[in-house]
Amino acid sequence: MCKQLNITKTFRVSKITLVRSQKKPSSASADGVSTIPLYRSAPTLEVRLEDFERFAVDRLLVLRGISDGLARGKKPDEMEKLVSDLWKANMRHPNTSEIIDKDIISHFVLRLVYCRTEELRKWFLSMESTLFRYRFRLETSDVHRALMTELGIPYKSVTNAEFEGLKEKLSQVARSIGQQLPTSDTVYYKVPWEEVSELVGSRRVFIKKGYAYVALNQVVSFVIPHFRSHLSKALVLTNRKWTSMIREQEKDRLTPIVEALSTSYLGPDYTQDKEFGEISLKDIDQVARSSFPLCMRHLFDSLREDHHLKHGGRMQLGLFLKGVGLKLDDALAFWKAEFSQKVGAERFDKEYAYGIRHNFGKEGKRTDYTPFSCQKIILSTPGVGDHHGCPYRHFSEENLRAALGKMGVGSRELEQVVEKAKGRHYQLACTLTFEAIHGASCDSGINHPNQYFKASQNILKEKK
């Protein structure tokens, strides 16, 4: 990071005007209530080139911290504190009136940085939405109403008569999510359920004939999807502008900064690890025992045992194996050897081989898929008969203990691992497991199954 900052000093002379717009963003609503910017259009602001990058880096630190918190499975109130702390630590500006400018500028710079691939857009969208969510939660209900109006959300207040008729059901919902029981003073809004699909999906609202009954304190769920879908569309547009004009126009000035900002921060994606090259089929069992993280080890063992894995498992293990260097032909042979024992070689060729070639980008839309990160695995939702997911999160304690024992984790370390898993620090649990097995420390922590694999191989090589 520091290096790039120095480089940009040479460009100091120039000033940049961000995308022009007719309207000022409503950083303050009519009655003077200060709200959170919705980033609907970029302001006409002059930005010094060094601020351009510095602001972006500061915001990245916030987003990166959020990403880390999510991966560790932090609870909403822990997240709220985390976001508030990260914001205070990184987004301060000596001049209070410029805080809001910094907020807006850094957001629009990162839009440019993260608009360029599907993967980057997804990450940015998810982190910005989370950031917005927790900032929103910290605001007052006046601000909430102002924002809802600004977003044009069709909400209606629930009348007293209607409330009385539904009181029993509304109380059931409130109790089921551990919230205060509603009284006649409680404010409820009635909205088409599609507006609050997130609350519907987690059964946190009562719905009747297509309408959801949302309590005032759940209002954030109205707002997030709007914020999200707007940002999502905006990112696609930004990408178009980037590829059609900006990249070329700014190739000496902004383009290098933008490109450096994204790659320097996301870390490797482990699509095909060049460093380790190939692993061959004959080594795979031995490598699985020595260097696979528990999630992959479990999938691998289940596959060897059942000669079958459901879709989620095939994806998680298949992409991981691709990442450690299993070539397409070997991958086909590997999966076929197992599946054909269960479904026959012919059915394998017909029904499953496609999926494997697809993972390697040889079928369908020909995307070379990247292996799943810990975050993605932790947030997956395995169902009955599935073996994928993160064992530290999805196994029962008993099964986790058995699995760790099988991996050779000593009893004292085992307790620590289980403790971390219980505390929902799944990646820390995995890191401890790694350290216990390899007898070496892993300071960076485990963020990706392929990183686990790589670190493990490095240690084993040194020992040789």
Partner: protein, 453 residues
């Protein structure tokens, strides 16, 4: 192909629209592609399918979208698993001829795309990704093979009258919620031909849901957490259940569990009760029950042993002594584990999933994918669904007396097609018409408004 045989028999079986299976033995039971030709030629309701998937856009109203049906993807599976994806048809006769011509083993229905899917490659060259799904029925796929840890009579794709009630439960729970909670009206349930049921929600609002909203509905229905390695498949937390779960439990699940599955699956017999005891987190309770049940293998009252044991278990778990809600909730968790619907989530979550069309013939069983009326789904018997060979025999018997199009009325498909038309298609067409007129008058209004500046 069996014309001769048919002629010989005509005089014998004049007024018998549903002949007994044994009477004719020249049509073996297994699936046969030649029979499929006859089926598509004389029984398959091409026109009704077209009417359905046009959603009123095949009419003369100025607001009808004439390109609508032509943007729908059909996918044919031919003999030897040759897939023909991205087929599209612009009118009823094109669809009918396409099906008769290719004689697919399976017809799948995909989404309505932004452009004609058969021309997608031409559009792809323009660079921007215009080829994208824009509409799709909200669909559900429930397979009985996903219930293998909840049934003992069959496993895998097999199904019998002892485990079929699991599907009946799924239909009742999901159907009620789709109507009462989500406010949908035009819902079609279909037997998948072998091991489960499909559901098509066809309201305009449902067809236009985005993937995120589809995912939310799927999640709303989901109670299973954790994978094979977690002990309890269902975990109901919180000091109360959501009203949807309460209603499902008290209106459907509890009764089916206590009155049907408990005994038909022998859930608390000597060999099986341990599995249920494992789901109770309190060891003093499990050992007390185990003690009772080990000593008393036979029930003295003459009542079914499963029923007696279930009463004992409930009494102990729900007695006033048990303060922790976790323990009292256990009874519900057990019932949910053995009865609650298990959806194939991925099918519902994404617009571009294909789903087998109603009235297809399942190539393994030869059974027709007939609609199921949710109001009388208790009466549905998968072992009694007409098979291709049965229908062929019926055609052979009635074929020559009845004029071309009316053959289906005299076969055992008649009831299904009448239901499809009368209870699904008619109300659907009515609401499509209303919707088209509404959108038209809104448009007219808008253009009027924009003129008055």
């Amino acid at each position: 192909m069996t014309k001769e045989a048919q002629n010989e028999r005509d005089d014998m079986l004049v007024d018998d629209p549903e002949p007994q299976d044994e009477q004719i033995d020249d049509i073996p039971d297994e699936f046969n592609p030649n029979y499929l030709k006859v089926y598509y030629g004389r029984l398959f309701p091409h026109a009704d399918m077209f009417k359905w998937l046009s959603y009123g856009n095949d009419g003369k109203h100025p607001a009808c979208d004439q390109s609508y049906i032509g943007r729908r993807e059909f996918s044919f599976t031919l003999d030897n698993d040759i897939y023909l994806r991205f087929q599209s048809f612009n009118c009823a006769s094109e669809l009918e001829n396409g099906i008769k011509d290719k004689c697919p083993f399976k017809i799948d229905i995909g989404p309505v795309y932004s452009v004609d899917p058969s021309k997608r490659l031409a559009y792809a060259q323009s660079g921007d990704n215009i080829f994208t799904p824009v509409e799709r029925e909200l669909v559900f796929d429930i397979d009985i093979s996903d219930y293998d840890d909840a049934r003992y009579c069959c496993s895998g794709a097999d199904v019998c009258l002892d485990c079929w009630p699991l599907m009946t439960i799924a239909i009742k729970v999901i159907d009620t919620s789709l109507r009462d909670d989500f406010g949908f009206n035009n819902i079609l349930w279909v037997y998948s031909g072998r091991r489960g049921v499909h559901c098509w929600v066809c309201d305009g609002k449902a067809r236009r849901l985005n993937n995120e909203q589809r995912g939310a509905i799927a999640d709303y229905f989901r109670v299973y957490k954790g994978n094979t390695n977690s002990k309890s498949k269902v975990s109901l937390v919180g000091s109360a259940l959501h009203p949807f779960l309460v209603r499902s439990y008290s209106d459907v699940l509890r009764d089916f569990f206590e009155k049907k599955l408990l005994c038909s699956q022998q859930l608390l017999s000597d060999e099986r009760y341990e599995k249920i005891l494992e789901m109770i987190p309190d060891e003093s309770i499990t050992s007390e029950l185990r003690g009772k049940w080990q000593d008393n293998r036979r029930s003295s009252s003459g009542k079914d042993v499963n029923v007696v044991r279930w009463e004992q278990l409930k009494q102990l778990l729900q007695s006033g002594k048990q303060k922790a809600t976790g323990i009292r909730r256990c009874v519900e968790e057990i019932v949910f584990s053995f009865t609650y619907p298990r959806l194939d989530m991925e099918v519902s979550k994404h617009m571009n999933h294909l789903l087998k069309a109603p009235f297809c013939i399942h190539p393994k069983t030869g059974r027709v994918c007939v609609p199921i009326d949710p109001d009388v789904c208790d009466e549905f018997d998968p072992t009694n669904v007409p098979t291709l060979s049965k229908l062929l025999r019926e055609i052979n018997t009635v074929g020559l007396q009845v004029e071309g199009d009316k053959v289906w009325e005299r076969t055992s498909m008649g009831k299904s097609i009448r239901y499809f038309r009368g209870s699904f298609l008619q109300p659907l067409m009515k609401s499509c018409k209303e919707e088209i007129e509404e959108s038209y008058s809104a448009k007219v209004q808008q253009s009027k408004n924009s003129l008055t500046w």
